[in-house]
């Protein structure tokens, strides 16, 4: 169209510039290659320097299959000893201990975070100020100090086992830990072995998942047709029926084991050791404070009309929160909360400070016995990444479910 267009000089290095007129050095493609070449060369030099300064003569993972030669104190449902079991087995026991602590801490910190975050926005002056106090105290104190402080309180502050605090023979507290009742398999109806209880638990989980599926489907129908489909009743009946039938089929009997005190030891029941309790308390309070801030910010980000609309159709305070506010705030919360869960995973390595044998502590003990620091570090980082990956995979599924929901 325009007669001037061909006459205008080509922009140097631009996509339309004819390459014959631009010197090689100024061409974009050449520049790209040159810069990347320099960069790769510099990186390679640094990598080569690091590689040559490391002692790699004995690099290899064979040392993991040797007998461990040490014991771990964080066993649960697993029985290992340092003589016959390998270092790898001990490490896996440590991984299992870490996962336990992380799962409990994630669960508790979510509860604490949501409660405190909602309380922070309460119209009640005292409640909101107390929530603020909680957040400011636990967010701005080093987690390590919190964990060792909880440990000190549980060891020094709690009574010795001779003066144990006994709540109705159900709950014991002393400096040897907290003992609570725990279900254990105790013989079967038709003489089935104890491990059938595991099968039963799996059956219950499957039944629960199926019941939730049915509930969701029936709710969907209800939304589409407008007729009531009794989703909750259906779900409950399916779950209860499946539980009963599988119980009768498998014939396992579970009894609740009350803790008792045998001399200076707890016997039976479930004993939460001070190390585990200190770690989980620290992680819960610290992460709970962060999650509370996330919950508060997500609720405050909602348009005010949501609260007003909920009020105007006559919902109660609890209904407003659970039906209108939290489900919407959840969408915004999940990415940040996932980040906090990943932090819980990494922060669980502070178990080292209270001598709870988590994966990091077991790894350092192995390194202490066998050397091979580089290999051990490689294993540590891969384990943490795998756990992080599992957490974010679960949270991504949750996120997809929450955000795909229709309003």
């Amino acid at each position: 169209m325009s007669a001037q267009a061909p006459a205008s000089p080509p922009s140097p290095g631009g996509p339309t510039g004819s390459s014959t007129e631009v010197p090689l050095f100024y061409r974009r493609g050449f520049r790209n290659v040159l810069q990347q070449a320099i960069y790769v060369a510099a990186t390679a030099i640094v990598a080569w320097y690091v590689y040559t300064s490391l002692d790699l003569r004995e690099f290899g993972f064979g040392f993991l299959s040797d007998p461990a030669g040490f014991a771990v104190g964080s066993q649960w449902l697993i029985d290992v000893d340092g003589v016959t079991n390998s270092r790898l087995t001990m490490y896996l026991v440590g991984v299992w201990a870490s996962i336990r602590a992380v799962l409990v801490a994630i669960l508790l910190s979510t509860i604490v975070g949501v409660v405190v975050g909602v309380a922070r926005l309460s119209s009640n002056f005292l409640v909101s100020k107390m929530a603020m106090l909680f957040v400011e105290i636990f967010r701005n104190t080093p987690l390590l100090v919190q964990v060792v402080l909880w440990y000190a309180i549980l060891l020094v502050g709690a009574p010795i086992i001779q003066n144990v605090v006994n709540v109705g023979d159900f709950f014991f507290l002393s400096n040897r830990g907290i003992a609570i009742p725990w279900p254990v398999p105790s013989g079967g109806l038709w003489g089935v072995p104890d491990w059938f209880v595991g099968v039963w638990v799996i059956a219950l989980i499957v039944a629960g998942l199926f019941a939730m599926r049915v509930r969701a489907a029936r709710q969907e129908r209800e939304r589409e047709t407008g007729q009531t489909h009794y989703s909750n009743r259906w779900a409950f009946s399916i779950f209860a029926g499946a539980a009963l039938i599988s119980f009768l089929l498998l014939g396992v009997v579970v009894s609740i084991d009350r803790p008792i005190i045998d001399g200076t030891q707890y016997a039976e029941g479930m004993v939460v050791k001070p190390e585990f309790a200190a770690l989980v308390l620290g992680l819960t309070a610290y992460t709970g404070a962060f999650i509370a801030e996330i919950v508060r910010a997500s609720i405050q980000a909602l348009p005010r009309g949501q609260t007003e609309a909920a009020n105007s159709i006559g919902l109660s305070g609890y209904q407003r929160l659970s039906l209108i506010i939290l489900p919407q705030a959840l969408r915004q919360m999940i990415p940040s909360v996932t980040n906090q869960y990943l932090n819980v995973n990494k922060n669980s390595s502070l178990a080292y400070a209270v001598l709870y044998d988590d994966l990091f502590r077991v790894a350092t003990v192995v390194q202490n016995k066998a050397g091979h620091a580089l290999e051990m570090f490689f294993i540590i980082i891969v384990t943490y990444m795998l756990i992080s990956f599992a957490i974010s995979a679960v949270m991504n599924v949750l996120n997809a479910r929450v955000t795909s929901h229709r309003l």
């Binding site: 320097y49 701005n140 080093p142 390590l144 100090v145 000190a152 020094v156 990444m385």
Partner: protein
Amino acid sequence: MSELPPIPRPEQLPLPQPPGQRRIVLPPHRERARRPWSVRAREWIRRNLFPSPGGTTLTILSAGFLGILVAGVIWFVFFDANWNVITANRWLLFAGSFPRDEAWRLWTSIAVVMFLIGLAYGTWSSLGRRDSLFIVLTGAFVIFLMAHGGAAIWSSIWFLVAIGLLYVGYYLTIWMPRETSMRRVWQQRVVGGLLAVSLPLVLIILMANGGATTRQFDGFVLNLILAPVGIVGGLVIAIPLALGRASTMRTIKWTCTAYIEIVRGAPLLGWLFVALFILTDVIGDNLIINTMVVLAVFTGAYMAEYIRGGLQALPSGQYEAAQAVGLTKMQSMQLIILPQALRISIPPIVGQAIAIWKDTTLVTIILTLRELKGNADSAIAQSEFIPDRIEAYVFVAVVFWVVAFMMSRVSQRLERAQGIGER
């Protein structure tokens, strides 16, 4: 149609108010504010504490809980706790094996830093009365409580000098002209330059000419050194990393992404494990240097992600506009993109700074470097203080809390003064 209201007769109309007593009718919220304070206080209490039976129950329950908590804290602090473990170990907690003859180096560094903080505060924000009170109280708490061992008079005098310098620095900026933008830029460059040299300057004051060696950095002093090194070093690493991850060149993008993800994949303790067992082969035997490197590398990966967030938050029009006015890539980064991206990412960067401040405690457990928490461990290892674990750790927690809380408050003020987070 027959239900129309009757037309009022003149004597039924409201009488006009007599002149002189006429009351100006204000909007409802102003009306409420005009009532006496006792009525307003009663109203406030009723609305915020006793709105309904449920609310009243909640208030009573939480007041009871708070009462028990406060009573417990008072009982612990004033009657149960034995604070001798702190008072007897002030110097150990503050500087540990730092040579006492060289203590003047510490006081000088603190005074220099206080002066620079005052200068920076005056340049970027205005000092409210509450802030200055808070800063003074914080300094008083941290330094006065810990640094009394041995040279009581001198440390007190130096403390007063340091607080004085804070105000000198602050009021110096008041005399700086504020109107033209070029002058403002000039001030910020000068003050920014001073802040940038402050860390090397402090290290020189501490170490030059027969001062302390790095191995003698100890106690709270070690925390005070490690955290800024981690923060500054982290920022220095983070900016090229963030740009590299946003780059279009594949090799650069992939290596930067790998760096960030690998560093973020393992906990800081794991990296300190590297500092102890692997970096000793690569860098050298000085654990403090290795720790500084690890802290910078670790912080850098996190900060790079925040800066990348800032880069992505910039509207693409900024990039295009920079290109349109003919800036080179380098120029547009320096003049247009980075200043805005960094401004957006200041709040999370400060959050990371607070995190690294808290994480300096971790060097105790795997490297057995004696920072404040590590020296608290050695204090309670003394035979007479073995039962006083809780007191020692409470003290450590409070010291860290005060500094972290102050950092978060100052950053909030700076954000407000700079209008960050507003559009």
